[in-house]
């Protein structure tokens, strides 16, 4: 192994880690017993908002800082647990006033502004279902997700509304109410001249009472709807229930070493599952204070925030870490980061160079972990007290059983136990934050399970010490900057262009983003490949999909490799792009030109 194992010895005087003995915890852990860490509501009810906010207020901790928001202009807004309880109460009353029923979906399309956090927790408090959209989505991904999710309410800003929602609103018949946030300041009194059929979020909040009795939701009631992408078809809405909060809470302690005295910064956007599970729920249920930065990545600003806010636990992503690495360790040493105790990374495998670099630059390594939208919380991780093998995602959390499996031709599953043998990463179902379905798609959900395993779609290996190593995706899904991108969604948007006959989309390795979306396009007769056409298609895709999903690169072909049934062989396009072996070509009917 080219990278030496990073041995863990607790520095003298360090606080004891929340997972002091991994082996003992794995042996003794029991989800039922862990449930005692939650308060619950009378009658066996459970509500994430209560566990995250109101129970702390009830216990006399209302004055504690829940969230420090830092605006793009460095303006700061502090929200205590008590204030968060009142704001979320107001939003729950706003929803009730609009007639929103239990289980109905409330979507957000917002940057990282305070209203996003209030809307998320207020929706849960009201017993409705929260579904966050990434603000870099264009109108097509917004329409697809809100259509599938049958969104009744959308909270967004006027600028996003005009650009991304107004053009598709007539295709969202279930959308009854759009609430527009008047900028970053929740106290702002509504600006005049709202677009038609929109409501003023700030005015509605001011008119609403801060008191709202938290909905007595059942533990298995739907709470969150997170969208993810598959190889084919439309995005999938993964259903998470209120019981998931138990996993958010426990994994926050075990995998992030998070506790009430911590100042925690999760840099993920709540438009993706990490930014909700660990950017909203886990830090609050654990009574920590969290930092929210509205701005996009900026190395110097990030180090300044870590220093000034005395961040103790930091959860970020490989793309950002690799950008920090390019800037170098010199700047890190110019900041006092002595409060920083634990650093973790998620989104895609953190390359061993980056782990080794961080151990040198920060004097402590990043701890990679693995999970997915469907798992709702961290499943495999590197822990504060466990040696790190750089490049490995670590070992399963206490309470999680993982395996490497092979799918037989008969559909049976066989577990592979030989060390470092490649297979599909699988988990034994039953943990609290496991998704309970893809909304309205029971067949797609059923296909994820076989022989008592949840099949993750990720290929991995396990070494003799029980550490897991990521190999790649078992399908054609693209992982760019930590986000899963379905090639079909990109292909569909390009196919809408009048000059396009065929499209195949792949993930091309990118030194910073992990993978970048690349499209191969065949033009219809009468259209010629040109630089102008390339730009036109790129612009077309960016307008429909937004910058996070649109291709970064487009190449033209006269024909794409296809199977007998006419399916484009993305795998072959990718192998050729990367100069890799072409593999089994027995199904190839029509080759690339």
């Amino acid at each position: 192994m080219p990278f030496a194992t990073i041995r863990k010895t607790a520095p003298a005087g360090a606080p004891p880690a929340r997972l002091p003995d991994y082996a003992a915890a794995c042996r003794d852990f029991d989800w039922q017993r862990a449930r005692a860490q939650l308060d619950g509501l009378p009658g066996g009810a459970l509500n994430i908002a209560h566990e995250a906010v109101d129970r702390h207020v009830a216990a006399g901790r209302g004055g504690k800082l829940a969230l420090r928001w830092i605006g793009k202009d460095e303006r700061v807004r502090d929200i205590s647990y008590a204030e968060l309880a009142a704001l979320t109460g107001r939003f729950a009353n706003v929803l009730a006033g609009l007639g929103v029923q239990r289980g109905e979906r409330v979507f957000s399309l917002l940057g990282r502004v305070p209203a996003l956090y209030v809307a998320a927790l207020g929706t849960l408090k009201a017993g409705a279902v929260f579904s966050p959209l990434f603000s870099a989505f264009g109108p097509e991904p917004v329409q697809a997700r809100m259509g599938i999710g049958e969104g009744r309410v959308l909270v967004t800003t006027e600028a996003f509304y005009r650009r991304k929602v107004a053009p598709i609103r007539d295709r969202l018949p279930r959308l009854a109410h759009v609430l527009l946030v008047g900028g970053a300041n929740l106290d702002a009194v509504g600006a005049g001249g709202l677009p038609a059929d929109c409501l003023d979020f700030d005015a509605a909040m001011q008119a609403a009472s801060p008191r709202f009795p938290t909905a007595a939701t059942a533990p298995e009631e739907m709470a969150l709807l997170h969208f993810t992408s598959g190889t084919t078809g439309k995005p999938k809405g993964a259903i998470h229930v209120h019981e998931a909060v138990l996993a958010h809470h426990v994994t926050g302690q075990y995998a992030l070493d998070l506790g009430p005295e911590d100042i925690f910064w999760c840099t993920a956007d709540p438009g993706w599952v990490t930014g909700t599970s660990y950017g909203i729920i886990a830090p609050l249920t654990n009574g920590a204070s969290m930092i929210v930065d509205e701005a996009e990545f900026d190395a110097e600003r990030w180090y300044r925030i870590l220093e000034r806010e005395r961040v103790s636990v930091w959860y970020t992503a490989p793309t950002a870490i690799r950008m920090l690495m390019k800037i170098g360790a010199g700047i890190v040493r110019g900041f006092d980061l002595s409060r920083l105790r634990f650093m973790a990374s998620v989104g895609e495998p953190l390359n061993p160079e980056a782990v080794a670099w961080s151990a040198d630059a920060f004097g402590k390594p990043f701890h990679d972990n693995w999970w997915q939208t469907e798992t709702g919380g961290i499943m495999i991780a590197n822990y504060a007290t466990m040696d790190i093998k750089p490049g490995s995602m670590g070992r399963p959390l206490p309470g999680i059983e993982a395996g490497i499996v092979a799918r037989g031709v008969d559909g049976r599953i066989a577990e592979i136990t030989a060390p470092m043998a490649m297979g599909e990463l699988a988990l034994r179902p039953g943990w609290p934050s496991m998704f309970r379905g893809y909304l309205n798609e029971p067949e797609r959900y059923a296909k994820c399970f076989a022989d008592g395993w949840y099949l993750t779609g990720d290929l991995a290996m396990r070494d003799g010490d029980g550490y897991y190593w990521f190999v790649g995706r078992a399908d054609d899904v693209i992982k760019s900057a930590g986000h899963l991108i379905g090639p079909f969604e990109v292909e569909s948007a390009l196919m809408e262009h009048k000059a396009v006959a065929e499209v195949g989309v792949i993930g091309k390795p990118d030194p910073t983003a992990g993978e970048a979306v690349k499209a191969f396009v065949v033009l219809k007769a009468g259209h010629e490949p040109s630089e102008a056409m390339r730009k036109e298609l790129l612009g077309h895709a960016r307008q429909r999909l937004g910058p996070a999903i649109a291709p970064r690169e487009i190449d033209f072909r006269a024909n794409l490799p296809k199977t007998r049934s006419g399916k484009i062989m993305r795998r072959l396009l990718k192998a050729r792009e990367l100069g890799l072996p072409e593999g089994d070509l027995s199904t190839l009917e029509s080759d690339e030109r």
Binding site: A136, A299, M323, D510, T512, G546
Partner: protein, 90 residues
């Protein structure tokens, strides 16, 4: 290279990452990432392209100085001038 030429190059490179926007309509003090819907990765690609095209080396820490059109022009003009100086002395 004068400022107008520099601006032409900059707008061309912007058009390569966000071809759907007419950069002439972008105010000189607007944050390019917001005005043009450019995310961190595209912004990185833009700076790398400018590095190559203008023969300047923009260190990562200076990226924030390129976020507005006017600031980017000021920064690149100075960087190009430094480069010319070096050649002049050589």
């Amino acid at each position: 290279m004068n400022r107008d030429e520099l601006k032409r190059v900059l707008l061309e490179e912007i058009a390569n990452v966000a071809p759907e926007v007419d950069p002439a309509t972008v105010p000189e003090d607007a944050d390019l990432r917001e005005a043009l819907d450019i995310d961190s990765i595209s912004f990185l690609n833009l700076v790398i392209a400018l590095n190559g095209r203008l023969g300047v080396n923009v260190p990562e820490l200076d990226y924030p100085k390129l976020r507005e059109l006017r600031g980017a022009l000021d920064y690149l003009a100075a960087a190009v001038a430094r480069r010319s100086d070096t050649f002049g002395l050589a």
